[in-house]
């Protein structure tokens, strides 16, 4: 691992981010990354956050057209309410704040506490829960589907709507629509090693893979002998489509878990596109890269989001963050 000591990994990362991104305000002590021009008058602010180790999520998505602020927690550990409250105060222009929360018990509890505290301080807060991972059954026997790749779609599309000046209820309901229209499935080709533990979270011998993993090194639902990229695409896309059944075009995110080479991700994308076309699904836009990662895990995930014209327009809208930039 390229670190000093496990205890300072998050702070060191923030210091390095500050040096590379003068366009952001990075508060290392309070663990906040904020748009330099926040609060933007009249604009609804988006705040997200979660455990670190998923970079560029979320801090890499702070900037015009996307998040107003991000709160990085310890590695794989939800941030604390203090961070979120401070973030809300820093970015609220009076138009209110949307908390984008990935559905994990820790994130949910901490953001809930923060919402109460921020409201006590007079900030209007709405929350959207992202829960797109079809590998987890959404039943009373689980904590519900995990939030993974769809987070990027929610933050980008709702962020664009907020930048257009839409009020909090509309930004919130758009975020909810994007989450509702999105599903993901992930595959690990290696385990993940956290700095604190120093050894792989689970044992995954070369020649085997885990289907249905999350982004925290939680073991998946099933282990299988190694499959080809084409076979993995079949399993992943079909798992998503079983739950989603899109009636229109989709956004596609082919996401790397961190250690899978971009060349392989692009090759995997070719297979994902093949499966989609075999299943009669049309593709509106495709994004390929390491966006919602799990430290040094090798593997990938597929996220699909069924979109309408408004969502595509918002997807295409300008965005200017460290990790996503386009439009003029």
């Amino acid at each position: 691992m390229l670190i000093n000591v496990p205890e300072t990994v998050v702070a060191d990362g923030l210091r390095g981010m500050a040096a590379a991104h003068p366009e952001l305000v990075v508060d290392v002590e309070n663990r906040l990354v904020v748009r330099r021009d926040a609060p933007v008058a009249g604009k609804v602010a988006l705040v997200s956050g979660g455990g670190s180790g998923h970079e560029p999520l979320h801090a890499g998505f702070v900037g015009p057209g996307m998040l107003s602020a991000a709160c990085p927690g310890e590695i794989f550990t939800s941030p604390v309410p203090d961070q979120m409250v401070r973030a809300a105060a820093a970015v609220d222009s009076g138009a209110g704040v949307l908390f984008v929360v990935k559905n994990y018990t820790g994130d949910v509890l901490n953001f809930e506490m923060a919402a109460e505290l921020a409201e006590d301080e007079g900030v209007q807060v709405a929350k959207v829960l992202v829960d797109d991972d079809v590998a987890v059954a959404d039943s009373t026997f689980t904590a519900g589907r995990r939030g993974t790749g769809a987070t990027l779609f929610v933050e980008k599309i709702a962020g664009a709507l907020a930048d257009e000046g839409a009020p909090l209820e509309r930004v919130e309901s758009m975020a909810r629509r994007v989450d509702g229209a999105s599903r993901s499935f992930g595959v690990a080709l290696s385990s993940v090693t956290t700095p604190a533990k120093g050894t792989p979270t689970f044992d995954l011998p070369p020649g085997e893979l885990e289907l249905g993993i999350g982004i925290h090194g939680e073991p998946g639902r099933e282990r299988r002998p190694m499959m080809t990229s084409g076979e993995i695409a079949d399993v992943a896309v079909d798992a998503v489509l079983e739950d989603l059944r899109p009636g229109g075009p989709v956004l596609v995110l082919v996401n790397g878990m961190g250690a899978t080479p971009l060349l392989e991700l692009y090759g995997f994308n070719a297979e994902v596109q093949r499966v989609l076309s075999e299943r009669g699904v049309t593709v509106a836009r495709t994004l390929v890269g390491n966006y919602v990662t799990s430290l040094d895990m090798a593997g990938c995930s597929v996220t699909l989001c069924q979109v309408d014209e408004e969502m595509v327009r918002l997807w295409d809208a300008p965005v200017e963050t460290p990790a996503l930039r386009w439009g003029r």
Partner: protein, 206 residues
């Protein structure tokens, strides 16, 4: 026997020592069915609590636990931060501003804390969470510290054959069976530290 602020200070100190000593084991347990951070979460949280208590020295048991809980919430994060934070905060609130409390009062207050945890996290006993160690412990804490400790330990071990229905381990379904819940294991440490504080130096049970 009355429990004074100093007693609670010792409890928190002993808890921090235990969490630090057992951090690797807690993280290993969390690696098996979670995300391998429970040990460092607990270590960081209780270390901070002790730093704060050194500085602020609250003067009632209730104030002390409330402060400890608030700081767990502010420094731990994850699922365990709000849950342990709520446990101590609500226990502290239930103790009111008495300068000394009885073990029975503590048992009752801790019961309120555990109830708050159950409400916040939506879990019941048997869901393979910290509640499986906490609930049996508060039930017998009225009788003795040692029994509460033993009940917590037993409850933690009894999570092994359970299938998780809450928290991160629930994602594993059947595969969560056969592993001890890390939060239950840390809850047992909390109760162990309590019994230790009440031991030779603390007035004991008998």
């Amino acid at each position: 026997m009355l429990l004074d602020t100093e007693f609670f200070r010792r409890w928190m100190a002993a808890t921090a020592v235990a969490m630090d000593r057992e951090a690797d084991r807690l993280t290993e347990l969390d690696a098996a069915i979670g995300d391998a951070d429970h040990g460092s979460n607990m270590r960081r949280g209780f270390a901070t609590v002790n730093d704060v208590l050194d500085k602020e020295a609250p003067d009632t048991p209730g104030a002390l636990l409330t402060l400890a809980g608030r700081h767990l919430i502010s420094t731990v994060g994850g699922a365990s931060g709000p849950l342990y934070g709520t446990l101590l905060r609500r226990t502290g609130k239930a103790l009111g501003d008495a300068r000394e409390v009885t073990r029975e009062q503590l048992a009752e207050a801790l019961g309120a804390g555990v109830a708050a945890v159950a409400q916040l996290g939506g879990a019941g006993t048997g869901d393979k969470t910290m509640l499986d160690a906490l609930s049996p412990a508060v039930e017998v804490l009225g009788a003795s510290f040692a029994e509460a400790r033993d009940a917590a330990l037993a409850g933690a071990l009894e999570t092994v054959p359970l299938r998780a229905r809450k928290g991160r381990a629930s994602y594993l379904g059947e595969r969560s069976i056969g592993h001890q819940d890390p939060g239950a294991a840390s809850a047992a440490l909390l109760l162990e530290a309590l019994a230790e504080s009440a031991g030779p130096r603390g007035g004991g049970d008998a």
